[in-house]
């Protein structure tokens, strides 16, 4: 992890992103408290039941959320490197496309799309080249895993063409 703690960084401002994390942690704690409150006093022996541990975890998250807020306010979080969002969007798009295409088009085509978009995220933007390679590669993987290892992978029009 980046441990760039330069002491000369004199003017430390509240870290907005870290404050968002603090709020998120407290929100998760609130959701857990709310959820287990509905389980109530059913089936608890000597006050120990399914709500005991969730309450402890939510309490812990609440404390950690407040602690995060304090560190964020004092600007104690390590400085972050610049992140390029373009490649990330390509890859997230690829995963989303695979998720949506898997049922209608089968494993090979959906995963081929993911393959090509990931390669694009890393700089290989020639989709007319990467897409066929990805689909062919995924198809080989599909054959190996479904035929030889008997793993169930969804099939689509391409797989139906051969088997």
């Amino acid at each position: 992890m980046s441990t760039d703690s330069s002491p000369k960084a004199a003017k430390r401002r509240p870290d907005r992103a870290a404050l968002v994390i603090a709020v998120a942690l407290i929100a998760v704690a609130a959701v857990i408290f709310w959820d287990v409150s509905r389980l109530g006093a059913i089936a608890s022996y000597a006050r120990i039941g399914p709500t005991t541990v969730p309450n402890l975890v939510a309490g812990g998250l609440l404390v950690l959320g407040i602690w995060t807020a304090i560190e964020a306010w004092r600007g104690d979080f390590p400085e972050r490197e610049h992140q390029e969002m373009g490649p990330v969007l390509w890859i997230v798009g690829g995963l989303a496309a695979q998720m949506l295409l898997l049922k209608p088009l089968g494993f090979s085509i959906a995963t081929g799309v993911l393959f090509a978009m990931t390669a694009a995220g890393f700089g290989k933007r020639k989709l007319w080249l990467t897409l066929p390679i990805g689909i062919a590669f995924s198809f080989v993987v599909w054959v190996i895993f479904t035929r030889l290892l008997q793993l169930h992978l969804p099939s689509g029009p391409l797989e139906a063409l051969f088997f």
């Binding site: 992890m1 441990t3 703690s5 992103a17 994390i21 942690l25 998760v28 857990i32 959820d35 287990v36 389980l39 022996y45 006050r47 120990i48 399914p50 005991t52 541990v53 969730p54 975890v57 812990g60 998250l61 950690l64 602690w67 995060t68 560190e71 979080f77 972050r80 490197e81 390029e84 969002m85 490649p87 990330v88 390509w90 890859i91 997230v92 995963l95 695979q98 998720m99 949506l100 898997l102 049922k103 995963t111 993911l114 393959f115 990931t118 390669a119 995220g121 890393f122 700089g123 290989k124 990467t130 990805g134 590669f137 993987v141 895993f145 290892l149 793993l151 169930h152 992978l153 969804p154």
Partner: protein
């Protein structure tokens, strides 16, 4: 029966042709993922969980352990030739090893790493075999509160004792706990945190979480770094063999590294990284060639490499005898046992000795296989380093999603994969460690079970948790492991701990 007889019986199991094949597949895959930067043994075992659940339990566990050992061997190759550690326990190896490779002594560096790993793996696996039965005897008298205290200790050491921030380590751990609550409560059958979504009733799959956090989170993080200057692969020049002086300077560091690494792995005290740093520091102090340190001293490769393999074997001690994982890989191996309805721990030695001893014996065999794979065939592994990144990461994501699709081909499961992948990415940006999330998800429910049993026995009185001397001592050590680093960091001495950061593997 004595340990020797058990080990011989285990050897019979391990030498069955199918099990030998599984071991070979395991060590080959393990070496490959160890060599490839960005993926490690934890991820690989997680990927294979859904693929292997129709196979025989002994065979797949032998394969998983082979992957773990292989990852430790393969990581050194990347550190030496690329200066980018393939897995976190090889960071120290890069310090001296890469300098040696640049000076044209890459061959001896690879050789001392491989032979050192072999020596350490062999001694540490034998230590595991001889220590395990006595820990099992000890563990049989443990009740729920002692187990709970032991798990609390593991939680603290995995999340916050090392690394650069107690806050972020604990936060990661509690995110794991929060995810562990989701699903049906094991003891009362009530649905918790599932919000009426049927897909959530079974809880969060360990595989989905681990693959998302390690493979997708890491890929996104590396992609977000953009096109920074790629690392140069050093060609292996000159002889691969060590000369007499190399041998003379290597054998003591191998042995010292083994005896530093093994106890650290065996204690519930986090990963293999800590042992490698201690071994490096020891060799630096004891060397007769202090001027070479920083410029490629062979001791600085031999010691830490032995230490990291010895810790890997050490990690199996708490995993097999107590059911207590202390690294991400061990946590996922625990999930592998659970997949077959097996719970590692003292009882497993009694109910399923063939499996346990077969596994331990197969580690000895795996070690021999790894020596062969890593010395004469080193050129093959070096070629793996030259795969262009677009193809490499496209392939990693293909296999990452394959495991999840094979287990449960639903849009919901893939959506969770994407969501946790983004969570892993954000956590990496902000410097949160990943391993505690996985350990929290797997060990959290077991700790809850022990806590509830302990409290039920005491009729809800929490003070009973510290009334047993063993539990009280363990909890006191855990408290110390939480508080002392906090004080050290507050006084600005945190750098040492940050260097010891236990990251993903």
């Amino acid at each position: 029966m004595s340990t020797f007889e058990f080990l011989l019986q285990g050897m019979l199991v391990a030498c069955q042709p199918m099990n030998l094949l599984y071991a070979l597949i395991g060590v080959t895959l393990g070496t490959a993922v160890g060599v490839l930067p960005g993926i490690g043994p934890a991820l690989t075992v997680a990927l294979l969980l859904p693929v292997t659940y129709k196979l025989d339990p002994a065979g797949s566990l032998i394969m998983f352990a082979g992957i773990y050992y292989g990852g430790m061997y393969g990581g050194s190759t990347t550190s030496i030739l690329l200066n980018t550690p393939g897995e976190s326990a090889s960071i120290v190896t890069a310090l001296e090893g890469n300098k040696m490779a640049r000076a044209g002594r890459g061959g001896p560096a690879l050789a001392t790493a491989a032979i050192g790993s072999f020596v350490a793996g062999l001694i540490a696996t034998l230590l595991l075999a001889f220590i395990a039965p006595s820990i099992v005897k000890l563990a049989l008298v443990f009740g729920p509160r002692e187990y709970f205290a032991l798990m609390v200790l593991a939680f603290v050491t995995v999340s916050s004792a090392f690394g650069d921030s107690t806050l972020r380590g604990l936060t990661s751990l509690f995110i794991g706990f929060a995810l562990a609550i989701i699903g049906i409560d094991q003891q009362t059958g009530q649905a918790r945190m599932s919000f009426g979504v049927p897909d959530l009733l079974d809880g969060i799959e360990v595989t989905t979480l681990a693959v998302a956090m390690f493979a997708i989170g890491e890929t996104l993080y590396i992609a977000a770094q953009g096109s920074r200057a790629p690392d140069k692969v050093e060609a292996v020049k000159g002889s691969l063999w060590m000369n007499a002086q190399d041998w003379a300077r290597s054998w003591k560091p191998w042995l010292r590294g083994t005896f530093i690494g093994f106890p650290i792995g065996a204690m519930p005290a986090g990963g293999a990284e800590i042992g490698t740093f201690l071994s490096y520091a020891t060799e630096k102090r004891l060397t007769k060639h202090p001027e070479e340190f920083g410029n490629g001293a062979i001791e600085g490769v031999a010691g830490p490499e032995a230490a990291n393999n010895a810790s890997a074997a050490g990690t199996l001690v708490p995993l097999l005898t107590l059911g207590l994982p202390t690294t991400a890989t061990a946590a996922i191996m625990l999930a592998g046992f659970q997949q077959y309805g097996l719970q590692p721990g003292p009882l497993l030695f009694a109910t399923n000795p063939q499996l346990v001893w077969g596994l331990i014996a197969s580690l000895l065999i795996a070690n021999f296989m790894l020596l062969v794979l890593n010395l004469p065939m080193i050129g093959l592994w070096v070629r793996l380093l030259t795969i262009p990144r677009p193809w490499l990461y496209a392939g990693i994501l293909l296999f990452a999603t394959l495991g999840t699709i094979g287990a449960n081909p639903s849009v919901f499961e893939l959506g969770m994969l994407l969501a946790f992948g983004l969570l892993g990415f954000i956590m990496r940006i902000f410097g949160y460690p990943i391993a505690p999330v996985v350990v929290g998800l797997i060990l959290g429910p077991l700790a809850e079970q022990q806590l509830r049993r302990a409290l039920a026995i005491s009729q809800g009185d929490p003070t009973a948790l510290v009334m047993s001397p063993v539990a009280a001592v363990l909890l006191a050590v855990a408290a110390a492991a939480l508080i002392i680093p906090l004080i050290l960091r507050a006084r600005g001495r945190g750098q040492v701990l940050a260097q010891l950061a236990a990251s993903e593997d």
